[in-house]
Subunit: 218 residues, 2 copies
DNA sequence: CTTGACACAGAACAGGTGTTCATGGTATAA
DNA sequence: TTATACCATGAACACCTGTTCTGTGTCAAG
C-alpha cells in the first residue's frame, strides 16, 4: 500500500532526525517539522507507518519510535562494523608484526570493515603490504591483509609462514605432508614449493585482502 | 581523571541501552538499572560523564543523551556504511553486467562496505569473479570487484575494458598513446599489451577488490 | 575543630509527552 | 441519499521527565 505524501515526510523526518541527533523525535517534534499542529494527526500517521512495518512503536514511552526495515540500516548507518588494528607495514624479508598478548587497546590506526565480511574479530589484525614481494600470492603493493593470529592451520588454508632457513615471511596455502610442508602459492598457475616442517612456522591465517585502487581525496 | 564504578556502570548502560533500543535512556531508566533511586544522583553523575567528554547532554530534552568519543562509533555500530549492488558474476569472455540507467533500486544482493573504503557510492556496482581468467590482474576466483561505471579513464587507472577483436573483457591499467592503447596487467612483472584504440571500450574503473579467504559459517 | 569539596538521597515543580475523545470534511460505493 | 472508510483538527488528561532545592554523610586540608 502506498504512503501519503505526509507519511513519507514523516518517515523521512524520523530517519533524518534519529541519524542526526542520536535519538528518535517526539510526536510534537515531528509535527513541528512536517507542518502538523495536532499531535493526534501525527499519532494517527505513525500508527499507519507502524502498520506498514516501516517503524516500530513502543507504547507509552517517550520517543518510543524506531525505524526498521531493510533500508533502515543503510539510512541510519546501523550495520554492524568491526574495528581491526592496523599494526603496520609488511615488506619482503621482514618479520611481520604480531599482536602481543597484553595488547588490549590499540591507539593507532584502525581498519573498519562490515561484519558481513568479518564475523568474528577475535585475534584479528591488519597489515599493509609494502612492495611487490607477494605478487605470487596475488597480493600487491598497498594491499591490506587481515589476518588471524594462530600457529596451527588446516590444510589448504592461506597462511603467513616464517621460513627459518630463508629468513623471510611469505603468504602461501599450506598442506602438511609427512615431515615436510607443501607451500602452494595462491596463484594456481604457479608450482608448489616444499619445505622442511621444522623450518616452517605459521604466524597467522589470512582472512581477507582488500585492495584499494583509487586513493581517496583527502 | 578516573571514573567511579558507578559512572562506568552508567556509561555502559547508556551505550547498551541505546544500541539495543535505538534511543537513549531517561534519567529514571538509568537509575533503575544501575540501582540509584534518586534522579538527582543520576543527573549528578551524568554531568560528570559529560564533563569528561564521554557523553553529550542536551538541556531540557527528554532522552537528551548521546554517547560520543572514539569508542562510541564502535559501541553503537554507527560507522557510516555504503551499500553497493552486487550485479552478478563475471567470467572470462562474457561481457560484464553494467548498471542500466533506470536502475534506481536494486532488490538483489548488496555488498556493505565502510565509507572509509568507499567515500562516494555514485555509479558504483560490484561483481564477483568466477574462474581464474583474471589472475594476471591479481584477481582470483571468488574475489569481489567494486567498479564505477564510466567510459573514460585517466592514464594509469585500472579499468575493465572490452576488447572488440578478441571479444572479451579484461582488467588492465590503461595508458592512451597516439592511436593505440597500452594495456598493462596489474602484475608489474608482466609485459604490457597494445591494442588499437578503436578496439578498446572502457566499461568502468576498478575502485576496490575484496578477497575473502575464509568462508563464513552459515 | 572547621571548612570545603565530593557523593548521595529524597522531594517537589514545571513543562514535556503519549494518549484519547469529540468533531468534521472528503471521497467512494451502495 | 446514505454509509463507510479515510484523513484531519483541537483540546484535554494523566503520566513522564529534566531540573532544582534541601539535607546528610564522608574525607582530606587548613
Amino acid at each position: 500500500m502506498g504512503l501519503s505524501e505526509r507519511q513519507q515526510k514523516i518517515y523521512e523526518f524520523i530517519s533524518k532526525f534519529t541519524r542526526d541527533k542520536g535519538r528518535p523525535p517526539t510526536i510534537r517534534e515531528i509535527g513541528g517539522h512536517v507542518g502538523i499542529s495536532s499531535t493526534s494527526v501525527v499519532n494517527y500517521n505513525l500508527n499507519i507507518l507502524a502498520r506498514e512495518g516501516l517503524i516500530q512503536r513502543e507504547k507509552e514511552v517517550s520517543r518510543g519510535l524506531r525505524v526498521v526495515g531493510q533500508q533502515a540500516k543503510q539510512l541510519l548507518g546501523e550495520i554492524a562494523t568491526v574495528q581491526i588494528p592496523l599494526l603496520g607495514k609488511i615488506a619482503a624479508g621482514s618479520p611481520i608484526p604480531l599482536p602481543t598478548e597484553g595488547m588490549t587497546k590499540w591507539d593507532g590506526e584502525m581498519v573498519a570493515l562490515t561484519r558481513e565480511l568479518i564475523p568474528n574479530e577475535e585475534g584479528l589484525f591488519a597489515l599493509q603490504v609494502k612492495g611487490d614481494s607477494m605478487i605470487d600470492a596475488l597480493i600487491n603493493d598497498g594491499d591490506v591483509v587481515v589476518m588471524k593470529k594462530q600457529e596451527a592451520a588446516d590444510n589448504g588454508e592461506m597462511c603467513a609462514v616464517w621460513l627459518k632457513d630463508k629468513n623471510e615471511t611469505t603468504l602461501k596455502r599450506i598442506y602438511r605432508e609427512k615431515n615436510r610442508v607443501k607451500l602452494q602459492p595462491m596463484n594456481p598457475t604457479m608450482k608448489p614449493f616444499y619445505a622442511d616442517a621444522r623450518d616452517v612456522r605459521i604466524q597467522g591465517k589470512v582472512m581477507l585482502v582488500v585492495r584499494q585502487l583509487q586513493k581517496l581525496p583527502a
